[in-house]
Symmetry: C2
Subunit: 108 residues, 2 copies
Amino acid sequence: MPPDHEPRCPVDITLATLGGRWTPLVLREFLRRGQATYSELSAALPALSDKVLSDRLAQLTGAGVIERHRTPGWPPRVRYVLTGQGRALEPVVRSMWEWGTARRDALG
Amino acid sequence: MPPDHEPRCPVDITLATLGGRWTPLVLREFLRRGQATYSELSAALPALSDKVLSDRLAQLTGAGVIERHRTPGWPPRVRYVLTGQGRALEPVVRSMWEWGTARRDALG
């Protein structure tokens, strides 16, 4: 493990990016699709209210995991696109999925 | 990625296990040492109050990541030992450390 506690621990940075209920599920949709419009996400994640979905999109955009692309014209269309840093979260999400699954199976 | 949203998403299980400020740092000590007494941890993590350290030890024990071992005799000695499930978190913590470090370097 790298040198002692940095001013802002990298694990805390990753936890903050993935934190908040439903964030991992929104991210998983992007890891599956690469990009999506708001309505595609809303249809894919019916359990999320508009407010939660908007908050998570803003959180992931702010964390550099996705980018908001606006196509000019009328009506203007907005797509959210997974960034390189977003794609780099795949091993994190997969290792968390594997550990969580083993833990859940152990609990029976 | 595995089938659709389970009743309790494995990623949420892992996030709940690692959640809470300082939890990753306490876990990192165990990944380094394998086992430790309360005072060894307290000395290694001076930034943590007694309450926070006790809470995190209870959280990690409840999550099956560490076990509390009590050696009979006087005074009774208590050690906390990393379990197999705890050791299995190493790839999760390492992948989170790597992503967080790349993210922090990208922000400069």
